[in-house]
């Protein structure tokens, strides 16, 4: 029996999962299987290795997005630290509890990153505002995608760590408000307000940075 069998099914009317060309994020079909998880909890080294390998891309994705633009040199170290803490703490994870393994691991990862950021302030180039990119109609999909990715990265980099954590956990890893609140030691109302502010700021940045035809999807000039 798989662990996810006991989990509530995702809302079919909900938004599609983010593109996961690089590893999984979260979701019932992206959890490690129940047998492997239980063996890992009991300390089986092979199973523990499989759990680590399974969640490595997810942990890396979270750390990379939390550090992009401000502290990229620390990504690998933080990924390793988070996975190490996961290994050491997995014996206390309750597979019958309310949290999915991925949520539990993402919570540890988020706290590892935020603790690191508080200890070692980042060294951004600077925060000078950027002018709006010129509009270029007729550009092909590849260019648009690269432009969009770059602008999103730059926009997210303008957020403070707390807002960024809420946004990344919600938009990319699909954690619900309660899980985010638990991960960040906040109440749900604070999570919602931070998320709203983060989205507004990212939307404004994207509208400012992107050419018109790309900005339109974020509420920019059509």
């Amino acid at each position: 029996m798989l662990l996810m069998a006991a989990r509530p099914a995702p809302d079919p009317g909900g938004p599609p999962a983010p593109g996961d060309a690089i590893g999984p994020t979260t979701g019932p079909d992206r959890e490690v299987d129940d047998l492997t998880l239980r063996l890992a909890i009991r300390g089986d080294a092979v199973a523990l290795g499989r759990v680590v390998a399974h969640y490595h891309p997810t942990v890396h994705a979270l750390v990379w997005r939390m550090c992009a633009g401000t502290d990229p040199a620390s990504v690998d170290d933080l990924v390793q630290d988070a996975l190490l803490r996961t290994c050491r703490g997995l014996a206390r994870f309750d597979p019958a509890g309310p949290a999915r393994p991925s949520t539990w691991i993402l919570t540890i990862t988020t706290r590892v990153v935020l603790n690191h950021r508080r200890r070692t302030p980042s060294l951004p180039l600077d925060a000078a505002p950027e002018p709006r990119a010129p509009s270029h109609h007729g550009a092909d999909h590849g260019v648009d995608r690269a432009t969009l990715a770059r602008a999103i990265g730059a926009a997210v980099a303008t957020l403070g760590d707390d807002q960024r954590a809420v946004l990344v956990l919600r938009e990319f890893h699909e954690l619900d408000y309660a899980a985010i609140a638990d991960a960040l030691d906040l109440d749900v109302g604070t999570v919602k307000s931070r998320l709203a502010r983060a989205r507004a700021q990212v939307r404004a940045e994207l509208t400012r940075r992107l050419p018109d035809h790309l900005a339109a999807q974020f509420g920019g000039t059509p």
Binding site: R111, R145, I152
Partner: protein, 361 residues
């Protein structure tokens, strides 16, 4: 888990590069070295405020344990005797040694263990593990459903190539992951039916600093997506960074518009590029902004390339010098970082932490 969220932003275009290969066996072994100790970073751990009283309690327990250990040692030492003979502690302390639990300090719970570590108390007994068997030797990273994809993601070229040959049924699902790892994956792909995947694989190789693979992949992407203006630039830049002189010369001639922006990157690889070619310095501010934006979005290799151009326009500007070196170090662009490190000694001290491991101080 997921609920409908009308305010949700579509940010899926921003994807991370493939993670660096992880030595899972070493990590698990390292985790096993230290017994399981609950951390305040784990979900469910109490906040710092709530932990404060427990911290005092843990400190008291630890001090008690230390006091008991000292008392035991003194008694044992006294019992060992004035006759100069020695005894092992276990010979004498049967009734005196505190129980193991007390000697080791309080048994940590998920709430108190972080505090225990802070006070130096010993951690609890290790989590019970099954007896070690031959199967405990971790196999290479595997995936229950598609070991070929797993081998490709782990960049295990030999294993992936073998699996590719033996299991044609796994190829379709693994092809995207295997481009750049298994040569046949690229050849096997129907011509130009995977432009996005090809572009992604090339971008991953480029971002990982694997410029040789990136050159091959971008060369293929060039044939498939002729309208994408970013491909020729990435291709020539990859060829120059890979020191692939033949391809670099070929594309240098083919894309004359790129000669100016990539002159710095290709100097020493393409003879014509070695003559310093100053970029259009009226665009220096725009280049500076583009470099910052590329940096902010995590495109460090591209940002490094852009700042080499800015530096040609403003060679005496210490801010530009610092940015160029900082980005080169973060991009792990060793040749550029080393060159700038040698050229601008005044900024070394500020960037030593960032550049350690990239340049040779």
């Amino acid at each position: 888990m997921t609920t409908h969220d009308p305010d949700r932003l579509d940010l899926t275009a921003w994807q991370p590069p493939a993670p660096a290969p992880l030595d899972v066996a070493a990590l698990v072994a390292r985790a096993a070295e230290t017994p399981a100790v609950a951390s305040a970073l784990e979900p469910g751990a109490a906040s710092a405020t709530a932990r404060a009283p427990r911290r005092l309690l843990a400190l008291a327990f630890a001090l008690g344990a230390v006091a008991a250990a000292i008392a035991t040692w003194l008694i044992v030492r006294g019992g060992a005797g004035s006759d100069g003979t020695t005894s092992t502690p276990t010979e004498n302390v049967g009734a005196i040694t505190p129980p193991p639990a007390a000697a080791a300090g309080p048994t940590p719970t998920p709430q108190n263990s972080e505090d225990d570590r802070g006070t130096g108390a010993a951690p609890p007994a290790p989590v019970h593990r099954a007896p070690a068997t031959a199967s405990d030797q971790l196999p290479p990273v595997s995936d229950a459903t598609n070991p070929l994809a797993a081998a490709c993601r782990a960049s295990q070229g030999a294993r992936a190539t073998t699996l590719w040959k033996r299991h044609p049924d796994l190829r379709a699902a693994a092809r995207t992951s295997c481009i750049g790892v298994v040569d046949a994956a690229l050849d096997d792909a129907p011509s130009c039916d995977l432009p996005a995947e090809l572009h992604d694989a090339a971008a991953r190789a480029f971002d990982d600093g694997d410029y040789r693979s990136a050159t091959v992949l971008y060369e293929r992407a060039l044939r498939c997506s002729r309208g994408d203006t970013s491909v020729p630039e990435r291709l020539l830049l990859s060829a120059c960074r890979a020191d692939d002189r033949a391809r670099a010369r070929r594309y240098w001639r083919r894309f004359p518009k790129l000669q100016r922006p990539l002159a710095q990157a290709c100097a020493g690889v393409v003879d014509a590029a070695s003559a310093p070619t100053k970029p259009d310095c009226s665009r220096a501010d725009a280049l500076d902004r583009a470099g910052k934006e590329a940096f902010a979005s995590g495109q460090y290799a591209e940002a490094s390339s852009i700042y080499q151009q800015v530096l040609l326009c403003r060679p005496a500007d210490p801010t530009i010098q610092k940015r160029a070196l900082l980005i080169a170090c973060r991009a792990k662009d060793r040749p550029t970082a080393q060159r700038l490190w040698a050229k601008y000694p005044a900024i070394r001290a500020q960037l030593l932490p960032t550049c350690t491991g990239v340049v040779d101080p």
